[in-house]
Symmetry: C2
Subunit: 349 residues, 2 copies
């Protein structure tokens, strides 16, 4: 049953045409007659002909692949945020006929990998994940001249490259303001790693909301780490055990928020009653109901689908690749504030 590999040569021989004509017919060149094109298409279908990517890549210099570099280093994990983003992006790639390639990067190897991508012509473009406050990759990518889109921003010359970002600052500001309006004064921020640009901006939003209401910042109420469940749990427990504990918590991710819920539970506190919990919600798919509607508006949150962001970044990259001349595209997404059941007035009930 193994199919004999039918290539352009054999196909054209069978058709009694030259390879050139067959190639042109298949690639939609205008000069080939409609009759010929049909004949060629039919034969191609019949013999299940597919051009070899290596060969066309060699001939055209296009790989048909988008690269993602994942730093395996610090946390050694591919997290749900990342995979949700990829789910969206790969969708956009697929629609444009591109494949998605992932390469794990050790410690400080990222630059090397990008260089490798370019010099070997492995990929046609890349996505930059998790820009830092001091980001070096962008300049580097510009210097080696490969199309890229950044998920997030990196400060500096923000209009010299393409990016898509959520308005992290205003998102957390909104959330914090809401809690303040509810009467809270001691509000904890369980943030992501603040060397990351997004976490830095969220911190600014938090600080702005407090400042606007004349509330001082208590550094003990702020923590900054990689966002996962145990982190959310332990941090929440620690803060609850403070002499003067916060009455409300803002989480940078639903992952740590889940940990926060667990902590509240363990301490016998009912969210929405005894304590207020609010979070930034990336709408991670495994937390969404798979059925008809979206899942419960359970936690108070600011939301923005990271999967949608991935899809859009993918589209932007596709655009950039097909229009190399076009100027950089930048998009700043707003978030929605959703009032759930995990917040209320302090010490109520």
């Amino acid at each position: 049953m193994r199919e004999k590999t039918v290539n352009l040569k054999r196909l054209s021989e069978h058709l009694g045409l030259s390879q050139t004509t067959v190639s042109r017919a298949l690639n939609g060149f205008p000069e080939v007659s409609e009759k010929t094109r049909q004949k060629v298409r039919d034969a191609a279908n019949k013999f299940n002909y597919r051009p070899s990517p290596s060969a066309s890549s060699l001939a055209t210099g296009k790989a048909g692949i988008i690269g993602h570099v994942v730093p395996i280093s610090e946390h050694r994990m591919i997290n749900p945020h990342f995979s949700d983003f990829l789910a969206g992006a790969s969708d956009a790639y697929a629609k444009a006929g591109y494949d998605l390639l992932i390469r794990a990067a050790q410690e400080n190897q990222e630059a090397d990998i990008y260089r490798d991508f370019v010099s070997r012509n492995r990929v046609d473009g890349v996505v930059v994940h998790g820009p830092r406050v001091n980001e070096t990759r962008i300049q580097f990518l510009q210097s080696i001249g490969i199309p890229f889109v950044v998920h997030g921003r990196a400060g500096g010359e923000e209009h010299s490259y393409s990016w898509l970002d959520v308005d992290n600052r205003s998102a957390i500001e909104k959330l914090t303001n809401y809690l303040i309006d509810q009467g809270h004064r001691r509000i904890a921020l369980v943030n992501g790693l603040e060397i990351m640009n997004f976490a830095h901006r969220r911190r600014l939003g938090y600080a702005a909301a407090l400042a606007d209401h004349g509330i001082g910042i208590d550094p003990d109420l702020i923590s900054s780490q990689d966002m996962n469940e145990p982190y959310g749990y332990e941090t929440t427990i620690a803060k609850l055990d403070m002499p003067d504990p916060p009455t409300a918590f803002v989480y940078s991710s639903v992952l740590s928020a889940i940990g926060g819920m667990r902590a509240a539970n363990v301490r016998g506190l009912l969210p929405g009653q005894d304590i207020s919990l609010a979070t930034f919600d990336d709408k991670l798919s495994f937390l969404q109901a798979n059925g008809s509607g979206n899942s419960l508006p359970y936690m108070t949150s600011v939301t923005s689908s990271i999967q949608d962001a991935g899809r859009r970044v993918g589209e932007m990259l596709m655009d950039q690749i097909s229009n190399p001349g076009a100027p950089p595209a930048c998009e700043l997404w707003k978030t929605d504030l959703l009032i759930g059941k995990t917040t209320g007035r302090p010490h109520a009930g």
Copy 2:
């Protein structure tokens, strides 16, 4: 700063050697003299020469890429189990110099994609995810003759292909037995989709444990769906609201178990006291503490790292590709039973 692309031709001209010799030197052929090899290597490093993947792929027929097909269809999501698995697998690929490629599959396109992979020589091997009870991909892959390893098993001729599986049956049997030993009689199973082989086997383990203790099966205590948080929540709520509710729950994934915890919380039940919750734990990385030790032995569970499984599957595939003649390799992994704080005797406290 853009580096001029240095290829084999230019490198060999620079060295005053033939392309053949340079290629042989770089690829470790024994016949080339050590002196020449050193000279070549030095020059290659100096000029940062990297062979073009398209060109060598064209010449050798090897793509240097492993393909993963993800069905975007039913649940339209890349879930944490999948990405954790990938994290492990990509590690093994990277060590062997392979890249990881992901292609999203619509509805019933999977076979098409595999065919495409083979006929276009896009990848050198694939991993089969989530085998069903009635699995068709395996036979198909055997027929088109591409190296593959299955994560899980598919019944039938289990020694005709390579696979790595967790002993799902005995895992859930262990867990159920433990709950029975604690005195529980009404035990709910919040299972994955039972068209999936793993979920089917888990159901068997559950049934076996009950049967061994002369406990009848109540179909109302069993549910089978895609594993996520809302599913765990809603199912748990529904079962708790039964006239004769279960005193213990077994979850097929920590994701639905998290939903179960939330449900217990909402119903005012303290896990370990008022109700017992146990789960199969894949050790998803976002639920592990990032610091030193592993996270809290919090929930009672049977554990097996899905990331380790991914790594091993990757290694097995690498082996298979380098030794095409070797017989299929099969591994069945045992799970560890971990007694946590979420289980106890029924109605205790």
